[in-house]
């Protein structure tokens, strides 16, 4: 029953999509027709239908209706309700439906909030957005339909991968998709603005909110993914330069560049073409990300189960969209106002261009690093791995000038600033950073001295961003985001340099000394939970002043039968204590790994600060 509802609503949505695409060119040639007529009702119907099908899928998951193949493959009656619901988008089919849902809701919001803009621009945006929606609808209906029926109806499902049964991972995909899908609106609207000749101040002002919203969701989505990876996947790492992670980082770089540039377009009517190019690129990267993750072309820890025909579909769709936008861009390029004037070297405009240059560089490193192995294999049949050392080697040297520039740049004035802007105060801060870094690294150990320049640059940025809170010229949201970024870099660096790790084989009652701490394996017990059993250990970590208890677990999930190792992490403002244990055969012995990760919590806080700056800037403008 629910399967039919879901299926039919998707077909109705498909029909409305086709109708809109057919009607919009006709409406374009008629003036004075308000979009809020027929098209608006079609869009509303479409969104409603997609919402219905999404709700239908959630309900099938909640009631564990195993006549639905997706539910059968990804759920189980013994799962807690929360994970039954999050299981809806924890699989390929459901997550695509979520994509589609967000696509259509965003379009609806766009239609409602763009009423004061020109008709032509609105209809064109709808048109491009509907093409994307149509693509997704076809993709879902013909390659990954979440409403496939199973007969005979199985009694029990096969369960959700336990590694996905986690609160951070349950909300991570929806948040990330809000970011990805937001970029589709930017894409459609920039093409529409290009064709209707309205790439200007008003458009910039309008689309800026979408850029910010996408950027905020993408940042938070990446944050959630990293937090999850930190406590679930590895030994205390939070970023592995895994292709799937890279794929979310690429549109982030692009969006960051875009909203810096769009400010210039809004304030100074410059860089029109560049804004359009960035808008197109951002969405292309989001889509390429979907392709790379879903097609299984890449080797990653977290790819979905895949099927080459899906890959071919997304690839062709992506190819059509990109080629289409390239032709539109070149065809309508001369409609863009071209009041080209050179910008003065010391000015906000130049500062933003330099920011863009660095963003594009970081983007190209990540993009090339991610896809190069695929290209090499096809061309040459050679297989290579591109991992953390590659990214570090290319990004770190550029990070140093970037950080210093980020400290100085934001204080430049529009149009023209004094060349002696790099004043005594900044020089003092710079010398101070050199001294602090030197003392710090000297104490940590001489082997880290090679990272001195990086420390100097990040401490310099940190000091300047704090100082900037006293300057009135720039706005608060920017100060918060920039401060957050400097805090982020600094925490990552300090964390990297000061992290300590200890591993040993222990049995209950054993004690080990590590640095100035004592690690005691106090006890071991078995816990029974709804859908898993666990072996819970109790460790006491104590030094002279205080002691903490850490209780890592080894869980045995029953559906599907899987073992997961749950680290126990105790966070304080200064450091995280991270402990995991594993079973050894040597009777009674367990392998214990203990890590001290300083300033870990500040990495998360700083990303929240960065995003908060974005939120503030939206609220302030509209409030």
């Amino acid at each position: 029953m629910l399967n039919q509802i879901g299926n039919y609503s998707l077909y109705i949505a498909l029909v409305s999509s086709i109708l809109i695409i057919i009607q919009s060119p006709i409406l374009l040639n008629r003036n004075n027709i308000n979009v809020s007529g027929r098209i608006f009702s079609l869009i509303s119907i479409q969104s409603l239908m997609i919402i219905i099908s999404f709700i239908a899928l959630i309900i099938t998951f909640i009631i564990s209706d195993f006549s639905n193949e997706t539910v059968y493959n990804n759920s189980h009656t013994s799962k807690p309700l929360f994970y039954k619901i999050s299981g809806t988008w924890g699989n390929h089919e459901g997550s695509l439906l979520l994509w589609l849902l967000v696509l259509s809701i965003f379009l609806l919001i766009f239609t409602i909030t763009s009423k004061n803009l020109s008709n032509k621009y609105r209809i064109l945006t709808l048109f491009f957005q509907e093409i994307i929606i149509l693509g997704f609808l076809l993709f879902i209906l013909f390659t990954s339909n979440p409403f496939m029926s199973l007969f005979p109806i199985p009694n029990e499902g096969t369960g959700l991968n336990p590694i996905l049964q986690d609160p951070a991972l349950a909300i991570h995909p929806p948040i990330l998709y809000l970011g990805y899908v937001g970029t589709s609106i930017i894409f459609s609207s920039s093409l529409a603005a290009l064709i209707s000749g309205s790439v200007n101040k008003t458009w910039a002002k309008h689309i800026k909110n979408w850029v910010l919203v996408s950027w905020i969701f993408l940042s938070i989505g990446i944050l959630l993914g990293s937090i999850w990876a930190y406590y679930e996947l590895g030994w205390g790492g939070f970023w592995f330069w895994d292709p799937v992670e890279n794929v979310s980082l690429m549109p982030w770089f692009c969006l960051t560049a875009l909203f810096h540039t769009i400010l210039i377009l809004e304030k100074r009517e410059m860089f029109h073409s560049w804004v359009v190019i960035l808008s197109i690129t951002t969405f292309s990267l989001s889509m390429s990300g979907t392709f790379l993750v879903r097609s299984g072309i890449l080797n990653s820890i977290h790819t979905f189960a895949n099927d080459p025909s899906r890959g071919v579909f997304i690839l062709c769709f992506l190819f059509i969209l990109i080629t289409l936008s390239i032709f539109i861009y070149f065809f309508y390029q001369n409609k863009i106002k071209n009041n080209f004037t050179k910008t003065y070297i010391v000015s906000k405009e130049t500062a933003v261009l330099v920011n863009n240059l660095f963003m594009m560089f970081f983007l190209s490193v990540v993009l090339i690093g991610t896809i190069y192995p695929i290209f090499l294999e096809v061309v040459n049949n050679d297989k290579i791995s591109v991992g953390p050392p590659f990214y570090h080697k290319l990004i770190v040297p550029f990070l140093i000038p970037f950080l210093i520039f980020m400290a100085i740049g934001p204080n430049f004035n529009w149009i023209k600033d004094k060349i002696n802007k790099i004043n005594l105060q900044q020089l003092l801060f710079f010398i101070l950073s050199i001294i602090i870094s030197f003392i710090f690294l000297k104490r940590v150990g001489i082997s880290y001295l090679f990272s001195l320049p990086l420390f100097i640059a990040s401490i310099f940025l940190f000091l300047i961003t704090i100082k900037d809170f006293s300057v009135k010229k720039t706005n608060l949201s920017q100060k918060i985001s920039h401060f957050g970024f400097s805090l982020f870099i600094l925490s990552v660096l300090v964390n990297g340099v000061l992290a300590k790790e200890y591993s040993s084989n222990m049995k209950v009652g054993d004690e080990r000394q590590f640095l100035n701490k004592t690690i005691k394996f106090e006890s071991l017990k078995v816990n029974e939970s709804k859908n898993y059993q666990s072996l819970e250990a109790n460790f006491k970590i104590s030094d002279k002043n205080n002691s903490i208890n850490l209780k890592p677990e080894v869980r045995v999930y029953d559906q599907p039968q899987t073992i997961t190792s749950e680290a126990d992490i105790k966070s304080t403002l200064y450091s995280d204590n991270f402990l995991v244990f594993n079973i050894l055969k040597n009777d009674g012995f367990y392998n214990v790994r203990y890590q001290i990760k300083p300033f870990m919590i500040w990495i998360w806080i700083s990303i929240i600060l960065i995003s908060f700056g974005g939120i503030l800037s939206i609220v302030k403008k509209n409030g």
Partner: protein, 177 residues
């Protein structure tokens, strides 16, 4: 004019990328290393399962023309499935089949052999898995065919033997003779 060149260049780039990714889609993305014949380390040292003596690969592969190194373990289910194939190959009498017992307990390993029969002329143990890595292996089961005279790898199978692989192995031996 300049604009057209730019357009053509970009479209060309997109098409090339599209084609490459399309081909890439059909390639398997699970890596398996090429058999690189020069890379066997014949100084490889290991202990026998049925005695405490140490041996090297040189000593192990001096019998007959071909050696078949098979990495196995009693806890590995596919190893159980491929065992009849090994017995079958042994019955040919042309192969010197060497077993490498991977990360296993002595008791279980001996029980496995007792239960299913012994196709191996010699069995050495690899309790830490290090020897298998020195052979360039992944895990269990894995089978390597070696030409004893030229000391080269003729064929390498990752995963259990099956009818197809068995036929192929027999073919290779026949052709080499």
């Amino acid at each position: 004019m300049v604009r057209n060149i730019k357009l053509i260049a970009i479209v060309f780039l997109v098409i090339v990328s599209f084609l490459i990714l399309l081909i890439g889609l059909n390639k398997t993305n699970n890596y398996s290393p090429n058999l690189n014949s020069s890379n066997i380390d014949f100084n490889f040292k290991a202990k026998f399962l049925y005695s405490n003596e140490e041996t090297t690969l040189y000593e192990l592969i001096n019998d007959k023309d071909f050696s078949l190194i098979n990495i196995w373990a009693s806890w590995c289910l596919p190893c159980r499935d491929e065992h009849p194939y090994l017995l079958n190959l042994n019955s040919l009498g042309k192969l010197n089949i060497i077993g490498i017992n991977y990360k296993d307990s002595e008791v279980n390993a001996k029980k496995f052999i007792k239960e299913l029969g012994n196709p191996y002329s010699k069995i050495v143990v690899d309790p830490s898995g290090v020897n298998s890595i020195e052979l360039g292996a992944y895990g269990v089961p894995e089978t390597i065919l070696i030409n004893n005279n030229s000391k080269t790898i003729l064929k390498k199978y990752i995963g259990p033997l099956d009818d197809k692989k068995l036929a192929e192995l027999k073919m290779i031996i026949k052709n080499e003779n």
